[in-house]
Symmetry: C2
Subunit: 299 residues, 2 copies
Amino acid sequence: MSLLVIGTLAYDSIETVHESRRDVLGGSATYFASAARYFHPVSLVGVVGDDFKREHIDMLKNRGIDLAGLEVAAGKTFRWSGRYAADWNTRTTLDTQLNVFERFDPKIPVAQRNSRYLFLANAAPGIQAKALDQVSHPAFTMLDTMNLWIDIAKDELLHVLRRVDAVVLNDEEVRMLTGERNLLRAAGAVLGLGPRYVILKKGEHGAFLLSSNAHFSLPAYPVEEVVDPTGAGDSFAGGFMGYVAEQNSFDPKVMRRAMLYGTVTASFCVEGFGVEALDGRSREEIDRRFDELMTIVSV
Amino acid sequence: MSLLVIGTLAYDSIETVHESRRDVLGGSATYFASAARYFHPVSLVGVVGDDFKREHIDMLKNRGIDLAGLEVAAGKTFRWSGRYAADWNTRTTLDTQLNVFERFDPKIPVAQRNSRYLFLANAAPGIQAKALDQVSHPAFTMLDTMNLWIDIAKDELLHVLRRVDAVVLNDEEVRMLTGERNLLRAAGAVLGLGPRYVILKKGEHGAFLLSSNAHFSLPAYPVEEVVDPTGAGDSFAGGFMGYVAEQNSFDPKVMRRAMLYGTVTASFCVEGFGVEALDGRSREEIDRRFDELMTIVSV
């Protein structure tokens, strides 16, 4: 029943119209694990540099996140900096320094190689495939990607897509990947590429889940004040997969409720910089917002 | 239990990236009535010029729409022309000729003056107030407006808003009206201006309903192929109010289902030019799509 994430840990520098922050703990694996751990124990595979702060290791460990697969390499931790426009929809990347992530070669500890649930966070498809090679017969593998890989490594991406159960994409990515403008048709076309489930993330406009036998559409939780949207997608994925792993079921009802939990963890995420608003919640708080969202969307 | 709409009948010329059409029957009252009549008899108050085609009068009458309040004035019918960009979100108005609508002075037939349900389609707030003056004690009045009136006649608009039960607005309008960027807070602020219900239309991203005791958020129906978005808002309002009038209830459950019916009639509307795809459906077809939408959004 173990839940494993392979992805980045990073120090992000973020500018919004209200505030700027430097060296905020971020990265796809950090966000995913910080959301998923409310539902199920999480193991993390990734790499950081020797500048990665002890307090951040401790913080993750104290949240019950298993760091046996976290490699500390000589050099600097992955760094990203970006700026959000006032409408939050336009994000400009100011700088990306892969640093130790450039030579990342995922090594999954023996104890995690029979993980039942696997999240391949955004990375080069070759790295995702290498990670997948090391896990024997996962029950449910979900993959995230980005426009860069669709652009420069589409063949490798298509190859790894054939091996996963689910993929999370945003509007732009699903259109780029399929050449289809209409989102529903584009998502349908992705089902023809291998995955049994496509999750389409539409940010403030919600998300939808498409499979051969289900179509579920959900508006976003109405956050009163967005502080920093960084990590929303990965914390959505964490809430989604954490709940599925907890329930250990792919019943359509479970998948739909998982979409709500993903929406809830993403909504906490965007209420603070980095994981500061997502972290330190209780399961009761998560469930309270889940119930609120349920009320908002129930017909 | 009568349902009355006061609004425009128009000939629209519409350009999309796929096709252009001239002199398509349109107008807010046409769209509203064409949607609402599937649920409840509708009376229409408006004005057309002497160029308004006999076949269009017959078409509306044949759908059971009561035209006792339709004035035929010397001159030309209201004309609008516009162009949609490839993403459907950008609409450029190329020309507006108010023609006979410029001197529109709504005269509600005696038989309709006790209407229980009243829709004040987009018009100068002064015209909307004049119409409202002639209806005694409606149970439910809903108002639509546009950025122009918020800009040039805000005081009159605020005055008429205090007299209605519900208002339909899009993102831009609710922000302009309240000066609040966050949509949920903006909608909340509108509740302080008089209406008990605010419906926020977000086009392809769905709609939400806010009242002091309810908040319901709904994604749009996933239309496979948009042909012409003109009239989507008015046909949403028609499906919504038609269903509320049919049920003759303001129970929260009824209001939520009404949001689904509005979404369904709007989805048919955008599948053709003018009312061509909305018209000629059966209640069974409407209900089939309602059931489908219900499946898509049910948790």
